[in-house]
Symmetry: C2
Subunit: 255 residues, 2 copies
């Protein structure tokens, strides 16, 4: 088990949106409390040092490019890369980007960054495979539901990627994300269930998992915010925020 002093400094690119940044920060601090509480000689439980660069979500939203046009994403990529550089300069020993969407541009964003950046798509695909699921339904923002990046990472881990069946279903998910980002009450769980039932065949439901691949979507299941995976009315869901934050804490504590 690591000493207090061996917790690495974690860098977080956040603010997209701020609600999921709070979740990441809360999860890492609470994991650390449980991990450190019995080994502290004096004072409150240790929490790893963290540097957070919280971006302006209005700016990152308006910098989004077009699908299939890499050049059009240059400013978006630079906005995130510069934040990672600032975290690195502040002494972060590993970093995460607290949002799924920028991971569609992961290779370009992390170009030239020297510290490890833990990729949410990688750790989520690995978790789906570890748990024995065969198919994963991707619910997220427009870039995440249209880019080939996450589907190909799932496929590389032996998981068949699925997307919402209809444009109407995709639109319902985008609208839900907007409401969650505005911190408005919603019936998000029902909307996601409807989309999942339309996208999965009845036979495949037990071997499928719905990836909540926008870090706000887990907020629609307030009872399960501390469960990496959970089952509601027969359907399995995966909280990408929690799986990602946990991977970052474990790296900080044990690697």
């Amino acid at each position: 088990m690591p000493e207090t002093s061996l917790l690495k400094k974690i860098g977080i690119v956040g603010g997209v949106s701020w609600l999921s940044t709070v979740e990441y920060y809360r999860i890492i601090c609470e994991l650390s409390h449980r991990n450190q509480v019995d080994r502290i000689p004096k004072g409150p439980p240790a929490v790893p040092e963290m540097a957070i660069e919280s971006l302006n979500i209005n700016k990152s939203f308006n910098l989004r490019g077009e699908l299939g046009n890499a050049d059009s994403w240059r400013d978006f990529d630079g906005y995130f890369r510069n934040a990672l550089e600032r975290l690195q300069n502040s002494g972060a020993e590993l970093a995460i980007i607290a949002s799924n969407t920028p991971h569609n541009r992961f290779d370009s964003i992390t170009k030239g960054i020297d510290i490890p950046v833990i990729n949410i798509f990688d750790v989520v695909a690995q978790e789906c495979a570890r748990l024995g699921f065969k198919k994963a339904l991707i619910l997220g923002t427009a870039p995440t539901m249209t880019s080939p990046v996450f589907p190909s990472i799932l496929a590389a881990n032996g998981i068949t990627p699925l997307l919402p069946k209809s444009d109407k279903d995709s639109a319902a998910i985008l609208q839900l994300i907007e409401k969650l980002q505005a911190d408005e009450e919603t019936v998000g769980a029902d909307i996601m269930r409807t989309v999942a039932l339309a996208s999965l065949t009845r036979d495949s439901i037990p071997e499928s998992i719905v990836c909540l691949s926008c870090t706000e979507l887990p907020l629609a299941f307030p009872k399960f915010l501390d469960e990496p995976t959970f089952k509601v009315q027969g359907i399995w869901y995966l909280n990408t925020t929690l799986v990602h934050a946990k991977a970052a804490f474990e790296y900080a504590a044990y690697r």
Copy 2:
């Protein structure tokens, strides 16, 4: 009214404790939502860019020095000063320290820092004076309840500073802070009322305010987390977290 792009970047030294850092961040983001929501041409409401340096509270606790011995605080002061330097290097245009305790060492901590650092004791004392209170009871950590710094800032603003009457009352407040930092349920509101009634004369209650001068203490009043000042069973309280975070947002938006 300012343009989106004119929101200054806010630096926050946090993690002491992480629960109040979440409060600061939430308050600034929600103030920005309300401020920006009607002026956004496209996309989610703008939130100012922020850099947060979240420290290890176990380390800062164990670096605390002794009352009246400035030399003994050198490492504590340096731990916070270095965090402010990193925020400055990350482009923060103003900074706050999201905790009352380090403000007892404010002059030494901010030595050589070029960006404005908004002092919680200053803005709280000014708010007490603006609201017409004559006396303020200081409840906080051991350094805050023993150092002369906050009492002298209150006095300079025309407010008579008061402290808990007995060592037993001070000890009850310290124990309450420990529980709030561990995120444990408490009867904090009752404890503070008892201490306040012991410390204030009956006649002075209407012209007195209890300063919740540890950024966790407001968490004991979950119903009032969005009220800078509030009255419970005849006693006025001031949420120092909210007053301080609001001052930072207003500086970022309007100065």
